[in-house]
């Protein structure tokens, strides 16, 4: 028995490492310490790990390499997974789907990653490019736990490549000590961003979110392919809004509550993390106000998928099955703050007394206003405008 146990490694690229807050960093170190003690404990026994039994196609490997969004899952879950099933997780992070695809496509199947977390609309393109391994759902018994509403999505019929990880939406969070104007719509957001909060605003660091912000505010379908709409969007974003932007930050939740911004475009789970952090610091969370994007906003779903050429496919299947377990799903939800689509997780969250659940679970009326992105031929144009907006903010 020479099963080598290693601490959970966080290989953060320079771009994302800046978002590793002190708190997260300390949490990570604690996990590392904890794993070393597991390692010591493991040295004392000669029992084969539970992972040695395997399911289906061969035994479960010793490692599992994630290519995931920054600080997206509870570290304790990876620890539990290592203890219960065997493989040791290592995580590399990316800030946007575009960047993730760029890296996987460049590696041409040699990336060494097992599990990746693409957002729904990007899946058909990734599948067509042979970046994803088709899933054998028989090897994921807990797939039955996902509510039917979150399976069989238009961008992945029959869950051929992916299963739901969690879904969420986009809105804003503001600091009432710096912004007195109430914000009810994206147009209000823009007005405040260019007025009261000018120079103290963060937007999400992703091309589609900037595109959405403009189109939702102007009542235009954000999946439009009309070049005239894009011309207007470019003129507005680059010449008018960009000069007021302080930073493009995909995780502004905690940063805003530490005084970095007055107003931020934010994903719901990240806003919740910010509010929880305020509470944990013993400060007043009422100072910060979350709002769901209106009149229209985004509905995104992130998914678990197996990378083409994954070196540890059995461990990958084992993890996906593990995370779809209701208890594990609840643990993850309590951490990231997004609905996991697992049947009964809302009830479990209420029973567990989790707070800020209005930022996690949305009413039917709210869901009606959310629209999924369609990746179309305007993608390159959208990325180009995003690049120019960033240049314009710095100019």
């Amino acid at each position: 028995m020479n099963q080598q146990q290693q601490p959970v490694k966080i290989l953060a690229p320079r771009g994302t490492a800046q978002r590793l807050s002190r708190r997260k960093f300390l949490a990570g170190s604690t996990v590392a310490l904890f794993s070393s003690s597991v390692l010591l404990a493991a040295c004392g026994t000669d029992e084969p790990g539970p992972g040695a039994s395997g399911t289906g196609g061969g035994s479960i490997e010793d490692e599992l390499n994630f290519f995931n969004w920054a600080a997206y899952d509870d570290q304790a879950l990876f620890e539990t997974f290592t203890t219960d099933v065997g493989p040791v997780a290592s995580i590399t992070e990316y800030p946007s789907n575009e960047e993730m695809i760029a890296k996987l496509a460049t590696a041409e199947g040699t990336s060494g990653f097992d599990i990746v977390v693409p957002t729904g609309p990007f899946i058909p393109l990734m599948a067509a490019q042979d970046l994803l391994e088709p899933l054998d759902l028989d090897r994921i018994p807990n797939f039955k736990n996902i509510e039917p509403f979150y399976t069989d999505q238009p961008w992945d019929p029959g869950n051929e490549y992916t299963v739901c990880k969690d879904w969420g939406s986009t809105g804003w969070i503001l600091d009432t000590e710096k912004v007195s104007t109430p914000i009810a719509t994206w147009q209000d957001f823009i007005d405040v961003a260019m007025g009261e909060a000018s120079g103290d605003v963060s937007l999400l660091d992703a091309p589609n979110e900037l595109q959405g912000l403009y189109f939702w505010a102007n009542g235009i379908d954000w999946n439009t392919t009309d070049p005239a709409h894009y011309d207007a969007y470019e003129a507005f974003m680059v010449n008018e809004l960009a000069p007021h932007v302080k930073a493009y930050d995909s995780y502004p939740g905690i940063a805003l509550t530490k005084g970095n911004y007055a107003l931020s475009q934010v994903w719901n789970g990240d806003a919740r993390q910010g509010l929880l952090d305020v509470e944990s610091r013993g400060e007043n969370p009422d100072r910060y106000v979350w709002g769901l994007g209106a009149p229209d906003t985004e509905l995104w779903m992130d998914t678990w998928a197996i990378v083409k050429g994954a070196p540890n496919p059995n461990a990958a299947y084992a993890f996906i099955d593990f995370i779809l377990d209701v208890d594990n799903s609840l643990t993850d939800l309590a951490y990231h703050g997004y609905h996991t689509g697992v049947d009964g997780v809302q009830q479990a969250a209420e029973d567990a007394g989790l707070t800020y659940l209005d930022l996690v679970f949305f009413s039917d009326e709210q869901v009606q206003t959310m629209h999924a992105q369609i990746v179309n031929e305007m993608l390159d144009r959208s990325v180009e405008i995003y690049q120019q907006a960033q240049a314009a903010s710095g100019a």
């Binding site: 800046q18 946007s96 575009e98 960047e99 760029a102 302080k246 930073a247 005084g259 970095n260 100019a395």
Partner: protein, 308 residues
Amino acid sequence: MARAVSEAQSGARRIRAPGFALALPAWVWFIFFFLIPVGFIGYYSLGYKPSIFSSIATDRLSFDRYGDAFQPLFFKVFVGTLRISMVGTLLCLLIGFPFAYWLATRVSSRWKGILLGLCIVPFWTNFLIRTIGWRIILAPEGPFSNALNDIGLGLPIQLYTRAAVQLGVVYNYLPLMIFPLFVALERLDPALREASKDLGAGRFRTFRQVTLPLASPGIIAGLLLVFIPLTGDYITPLVLGGAKGNMVGKQIASEFLTANDWAQGSALAILLIVMILATVGVMALIGLGIRSILRARRRFAMPEVMTA
């Protein structure tokens, strides 16, 4: 003993290799890790991005990417970068020179090693971590800024501004200025300064006509060592700059990583190299010009001194 020497001499004669052999590793390094990659970047900059999943295609070569890079927006990023790097290099010189001078001429040799060692200590920490450390100091509601507010002072430099990037680059590159300056000033024989003093020159004149010219190789080395990597820096603007403190390096990284557009990124990288070369060239010309003017003036002053 004598036998050993003669053996060594004859041995040296036998395996005498051509002179460039010693430089071979350096040449291999230079060719494989500099010339060839830069050649690729130049070649890629003529290509284009064919689709979202391909980074580069070169079946159709053109200068279009350079055209795109010359848009007013990117041009502003270049100007902003040049301003940050020139101001940063100058600040490093202004801060580094007095320190290096003091260290080389006023500190006992026992303390010299310790103080020089302290300059190296920050390098034990990763560049990125050192830069992230400034985020805590510059955070608007961090402990440092709260303490300053309590005593009635505000934080003079805010995170996510160009000033924050300026501060970050000076902090990160200052040691690269101090070391060559120290080496140059350390080698300077104190007898020369004493001689200058004995011949009637004041402190300022000794500094201007003896110390400065003799230290100039160190100054030039320091300026180049700081200016070149600083201009291409992308970590400091990424960590401290937010949207306001953008620099070309960050734009290039974004072209390669987010847009996955290697052609555009390569064109920007080539333009950055050209900008650095041009700046260094112009500065060298200005420096040479000033030197020849000074020399001409000094030569003219000679007879007056003689007759007096």
